[in-house]
Amino acid sequence: MSAFRAAVLEHFRHPRNRGALAGANASADGANALCGDRVRIELLIEQGRIVDARFTADGCAVCIASASVATEWARGRSLSDMSILQTSIVHELLGGAPAPGRERCLSLPLDTLRRAADTSRTS
């Protein structure tokens, strides 16, 4: 089994930061209209910094793993850091990339996380 696949399955079985975030002050929902993945990212932001990040999802293993590592990555970072959150960072964190047809599964939580951060900046 590849390192990527092992990491994805490990995060799928034991996701980090899964569940609603009490006291969240920013959030966004994301959906893949074709495969049906659904993700919500909730953030607690204080003074321009992400203090806590959690996710809720009905998604495939790649989607869940991506949300798991992305919320880990986001904690403690500034809102401006969210602009550098690209799929390449998640590839590095998971030890590889999914098959070409599954990139959208991996990018959905990242898009949703960036939008959640944006809602804070625009509100």
């Binding site: 659904r38 009905d58 495939c60």
Partner: protein
């Protein structure tokens, strides 16, 4: 529960009275189901019906008028074999029994009204309930909900116990019936009026099997709810006859639907991204049926993952997978038929 009876119980003034006529038994062919009700008001107003109408209903109304005016109760036996109608083939044949009793609003302590009010409260909370009355003796009424909670009495503790047992059994099938009970105080003929919440079918996964499921469920009078995360699938164009279409995170949608024994849930997305989170929501919920589309191997793998989440073998055994009775069909409509058949078999107790 008959809407007109609920409305009357809710709105009748404390000095009001009416006659409640209930079809309690039938032999031969009748167009109304046992349990059909007619309410006859003090000023002659009618709501509902117990028979096919015509001369038969006229006999019920005449007896009801008498009872509204002077009180009491009566078990009216009526033959449907009108000789002239029989000759020209216009009668269905058979006979019916109609229990007619005077009722007053629940606030007066009227036993029948209080029992139906208790049963209606159970229905509001999504639980089935039965109201039992003695047919061959004095009044009295006993309400029993599917959790065993009782209200009222038939006037005899041993009869109450026997009635509660038969009511729970009747609630399992949902069929109202007249039966004879033997207790320490003798034989008693009673009528068990089953009041069950509308059966609901919750379908997760808006594919072709779901489309066929909605069609079959409609035939059975079930309330259908179609759930998916994709609005291109769960659309009104594809599910024109569905009662509800909900698009969103399936596990969250399911969490917002009140479970009860009349709720059947079928997972036909054939996608673990929905199956696992929805099963986590429902394995400890009191739903009447929980089915999962997939092979034995897939079902076993799903159970293994859920077992690791802390679900017990008894909880996991509630999942019907492979889903449906084995009818041998493969097309979406055939699979849907097998699923609907299994739901009915579970409800009637023909299948665990």
């Amino acid at each position: 529960m008959a809407r007109h009876l609920i409305d009357w119980l809710d709105s009748a003034a404390s000095d009001d009275a009416a006659a409640l006529a209930t079809l309690v038994s039938a032999s031969g062919s009748t167009s109304k189901k046992i349990g059909a009700k007619m309410l006859v008001g003090r000023d002659g107003e009618l709501a509902g019906g117990v028979t096919i109408g015509g001369c038969v209903d006229a006999q019920v109304i005449a007896a009801a008028d008498e009872i509204v005016a002077h009180g009491g109760r009566r078990l009216l036996g009526i033959s449907l074999d009108d000789d002239e109608a029989w000759e020209i083939g216009l009668t269905c044949g058979g006979s019916v029994e109609v229990l007619i009793e005077r009722i007053r609003p629940p606030s007066t302590g009227d036993a029948t009204a209080v029992a139906y009010r208790a049963a209606h409260r159970a229905l509001d909370l999504g639980a089935g309930a039965a109201v039992v009355r003695v047919l061959d003796g004095a009044g009295g009424a006993l309400a029993i909900n599917e959790h065993g909670t009782r209200a009222g009495t038939l006037g005899d503790a041993s009869l109450d116990d026997a009635a509660a047992d038969i009511a729970r059994e009747a609630l399992r099938t949902g069929h109202s019936q007249s039966v004879t009970l033997t207790t320490t105080s003798g034989e008693h003929r009673v009528y068990v009026d089953c009041l069950v919440p509308v059966a609901r079918l919750l379908i997760v996964g808006a594919g072709e099997i779901a489309m066929a499921l909605v069609r079959f469920a409609n035939e059975l009078g079930m309330h259908t709810i179609v759930v998916d995360g994709r609005d291109r699938y769960a659309s009104r164009e594809r599910f024109g006859d569905a009662d509800e279409i909900r698009v969103g995170m399936p596990s969250e949608i399911v969490a917002g639907i009140t479970p009860n024994s009349r709720l059947a849930v079928v997972l036909v997305a054939h996608d673990y991204k929905y199956d696992l989170p929805v099963l986590r929501q429902l394995l400890r919920a009191p739903v009447g049926y929980l089915g999962l589309l997939g092979s034995k191997r897939r079902g076993a793998a799903m159970r293994d993952l859920l077992r690791a989440d802390g679900f017990t073998d008894a909880e996991l055994a509630r999942i019907h997978t492979p889903i449906g009775l084995d009818l041998g069909g493969r097309s979406p409509a055939e699979v849907a038929l097998s699923i609907i058949a299994e739901i009915v078999a579970v409800r009637t107790g023909k299948r665990p």
